[in-house]
Amino acid sequence: MNTTMRLSSSASKAFVAKVEKISGQKLLACYQCGKCSAGCPMAAYMDILPNQIIRMAQLGMQKQLLASRTIWTCVSCLTCNSRCPKSIKIAEVIESLRETALRNGQRDDRLKIWELSPEARSDLPPIATISAMRKLTS
């Protein structure tokens, strides 16, 4: 008797394909050395570490990834990218997750610029406000 065991559903396969397309990365290239997480200056504020993000993305764990704090904590400093021995652009993978979360049709923005105090708005340099809006809003 033959038994077929499916590790991922077709829905999660579609999610993996989408992440690979937006990020332009081959997720299976990762062999989990952990160098990305070791050097990440934002790791202390994350719930899921960068190497774990890649592993979960390989497995198509869409729900957990899109609900993670990590995808909003990464600031694309690219330390992981420049140190990855397999030349995987981890920051690009995280950006693809951010974009997927922001473009789910809910306008689920992570920054409500109008909620900032007038003092904060006038105090912040323009590049801070604009880059935050580019990264955290749909």
Binding site: T73, L111, P125, P126, A128, I130
Partner: protein
């Protein structure tokens, strides 16, 4: 020949001290700087999506303006503008179909972009065109005894394609500081991210980063930290009050643009320094070395 200069929004806003010290120093070095006409936002951050086209439009429009100024290169001193403009340029040069989509979208422009403009950062211009030895000759007030930590952050060194120095251990700013007569001091966190735009929605992250990065510089016993990015400058300078609330032992340390030290050493005058726009006043630190 005139050097086309792209200031970017923040240098015309909260970082006027970066703008005036850049322009005045270049005048002292006999480089005629001309501000790019009709420049627009650089885009601030490079969108990382492999197929992204939309976010390349703003930077490419600036490259068209450079061509219209009859030049094939331009300089910016803001690390954020440099990175965004340079990466967009590399991306459209590598992907001709993307570039043709952008040119079609910008169909009201009479000039087409053909990948024929080079993006330069002021630091590489000073190293490769002016020369640090020539800069040293022009110094009127050597910054003798001043101990300076150079902070690069992310955007001057990452990714590798935009870096004009070593990715892990860049030395270009240290070499410039030495040419001004000051003492560059190594510190381990010089390429560690400051938290960037978390200043807007998660200032507590920036406070912690500032505590760590500036604390590391303090341990190296420096008089000040110099930067090339108005985003880093804001986080490391203006967020020191938050860092102090987080860690009562935090020691305030001035943060300057490298161009301010250059303007000081080249004696460009007080109007070129605009220390009033720095949050932590650098004058006591300079006075302690007899340089006020």
């Amino acid at each position: 020949m005139k050097l086309i200069y792209y200031p970017g929004c923040t240098l015309k806003n909260s970082a006027r001290n970066f703008d005036v010290s850049t322009v005045s120093s270049m005048a002292q070095l006999d480089v005629e700087v001309e501000e790019l006409e009709r420049w627009n936002c650089c885009g601030t951050v490079h969108a990382l999506g492999a197929e992204n086209v939309m976010n390349r439009v703003a930077p490419v429009t600036n490259l068209i303006r450079v061509k219209e100024a009859q030049s094939n290169e331009f300089m910016t001193s803001c690390a954020m503008c440099y990175n965004t403009l340079k990466r967009a340029n590399i991306d459209v040069k590598k992907n001709p179909e993307k570039l043709s989509t952008i040119n079609e979208f910008l169909n009201l422009e009479t000039t087409k972009y053909e990948g024929d403009v080079d993006v330069l950062h002021l630091l590489e211009y000073l190293r490769d065109r002016v020369g640090f030895d020539k800069l040293a000759e022009k110094v009127k007030k050597p910054l003798k005894g001043l101990r300076v930590a150079c902070y690069y952050g992310c955007l001057l060194v990452r990714p590798k394609e935009v870096a004009f120095d070593d990715v892990e251990n860049p030395m270009i700013m240290e070499n410039l500081i030495a040419a001004l007569g000051a003492t560059p001091v190594n510190f381990p966190l010089k390429t560690e991210c400051c938290g960037a735009y978390h200043a807007v929605a998660s200032p507590e992250i920036v406070a912690d980063r500032t505590d760590k990065i500036m604390g590391s510089a303090s341990e190296a016993d420096v008089d000040m930290v110099v930067v090339s990015c108005p985003m880093c400058a804001y986080n490391l300078d203006f967020r020191q009050d938050d860092a102090k609330r987080l860690n009562p032992e935090f020691k305030n340390l001035p943060v300057l643009y490298f161009t301010q030290l250059m303007a000081l050493a080249l004696e460009c005058g007080e109007d070129a320094l605009r220390f009033d726009l720095n949050h932590i006043d650098p004058l006591p630190a300079l006075a302690a070395r007899g340089l006020d």
